[in-house]
Each structure stands twice: as structure tokens, then as C-alpha cells.
Symmetry: C2
Subunit: 132 residues, 2 copies
DNA sequence: TACATTGTTATACAGATATATAACAGCAGT
DNA sequence: ACTGCTGTTATATATCTGTATAACAATGTA
């Protein structure tokens, strides 16, 4: 897993982590049984405190998405398949809604949005290719 | 102007206000010369502290978008036309990018995204009609 | 001048977020 | 048992956000 957080964002670091794990599961990158990075390992990689990682994992555990065992680590729970399908739908719908609302506020038409979507998709793909 | 904030969001209230004023200007809802609601009035309407509104207005002033005069209020600056055009483009592109990245994380294709976009647009419009 | 409106500032306080430091405890392989 | 990994917990500190309260200052109008 390639986690990354943005310390300048107004969204709390632990919340960013939670979202990324959810997305990874929804996308199938993380499957039931997979073990998440240890608190210290991920903390070092992201240059944040282990306590912040702990808070994110704790949140995920409270949601029933992962299970943590003392001394063994944190693993994706079996039941996350059902979660996965539902979450994927809801997350996508919410993301689309956010864009539609913002576009509406900015006075953009749907056609303009679709055109921009294809345009930005191309741009992002080219940028991604450059970074390889 | 119909401002509204979400106290449960992890995005600070003052930042939400800043975004909404920017969007309103970009959409033309707020034009140069227009006066924003007074600190106290908006605070009462949104049920937040006047100091929070003040912080938002202060941010907008630092960005050169509005001008505040003691005793007179806070007004949208003339130069905001140029800002408006540039900001609108950038804000839309960023919003689209956010969706594309999230969709990619969730393993959604562009076709799926476009279809969902039309679907959600219809849903949102129906909901909006209901609320009238 | 008096008044109501506007923005400004100071103080104190609370909660969430994030950190550093450090010690403690469970699990697995040597 | 020892060692190295894992998660857990406690303490203290700092920053940001947001609030309540209250006084002060500038503008425009009656």
C-alpha cells in the first residue's frame, strides 16, 4: 500500500488515513486478511507520530473494518466484502455530488463539466506517466 | 447571499465561509462593490461567533478579494473580476481532479463516472425541487 | 449631539489535533 | 530465556479552532 498524507490540509491526518484505507479496500488493493503496516513503520514512512496512526486504526476498528490484535498487528476483516461494495457506491456518489454542488456554485454547466473531466483525465494521466 | 456552514465538518468554519464567498464571486452572485453581511448579522444567521466571521473576512482581505472599512462594512473589491475568471477555472479543475483521483482510488472507470454524474445530477435536481 | 450601525481588540476558556518521550505488554522465532 | 517485532498507555506540550464576554472605535444618520 502506498499511503500518503498532506500535513497542510485542514483534514486531520488520522482522517486522511482512514479514508485511504477505506478506499484501498473498496478498490480491492487491500483484501480481507491483509495486514496493515505496523504503527511505527507507517509513522516513519509518513513522518508522523505513531499515535496518529494508532488513532486512524482505532477509528477503522470501531467501524468494524479492521481487527487489531496486541503483538500481531492490524488486519482487514473478513466481513469487509459487504462493506466494500456498499462503501464504493456511496463514496463514489458522494464524490460526484460534491463536484456537482461545487460546479453549480461556480455556475458551470454539465456539458462544461464533462468536457473538463475528459481534459483533466488526460492531464492527470500524462503527469502520472512523467512521475514514473 | 445564502451562506451556510457545516459545524460537523473537519473543515474549519471560517475556511468554509472563505470558499463560499470565493465561489459566489466566481459565479457572479457577488459582484464588485457588493457588501457582505455584517459580522454580527452573519454570525446570528449561521449561529456562529462574530469572531469566526471576522476571521473569514480577514482571510479574504489578505487575499485582496474584499476590502474592509471600519464602520462601513466589507465590500467586494473591483479587481475581483480578474480573480473571478482565473479562480473559476482553477477551482473547477481542482474539483474535477479531486473526483478523478478519488474515482481512481475506488477503481471506477471514466464511463462509470460519467453515467453516475448524470444520475446524481438528476437526483440532486429532484431533491432541490422538493425543498422548494 | 445622540444613536445605531459597522468593524476592532483583549481576555479567558474549551476542545480537537498532533507531537515527543517513555514505559509497558503480547506474540513469535531463535 | 532472549530478542525483535507488534500494539498499548500515560504524561506533558503545542497549535489551531471556536466560543463567550466585553469594551472600544469609526461611520453615517436623525
Amino acid at each position: 500500500m502506498r499511503f500518503q498524507v498532506d500535513p497542510t490540509s485542514s483534514i486531520p491526518l488520522y482522517a486522511q488515513l482512514v479514508e485511504q484505507v477505506k478506499h484501498a479496500i473498496a478498490a480491492g488493493t487491500l483484501a480481507p486478511g491483509d495486514t496493515l503496516p505496523s504503527l511505527r513503520e507507517l509513522a516513519v514512512r509518513l513522518r508522523i507520530s505513531p499515535l496518529t496512526v494508532k488513532k486512524a486504526y482505532g477509528e477503522l476498528e470501531a467501524l468494524g473494518i479492521v481487527a487489531t490484535e496486541h503483538g500481531r498487528g492490524t488486519t482487514v476483516r473478513a466481513g469487509s466484502d459487504a462493506f466494500s461494495a456498499r462503501y464504493r457506491r456511496e463514496a463514489l456518489a458522494q464524490a460526484v455530488d460534491r463536484l456537482l454542488v461545487e460546479a453549480h456554485h461556480l455556475g458551470a454547466t454539465t456539458d462544461e463539466l464533462i468536457a473538463l473531466l475528459y481534459e483533466r483525465k488526460t492531464v492527470l494521466e500524462e503527469e502520472a506517466a512523467d512521475h514514473v
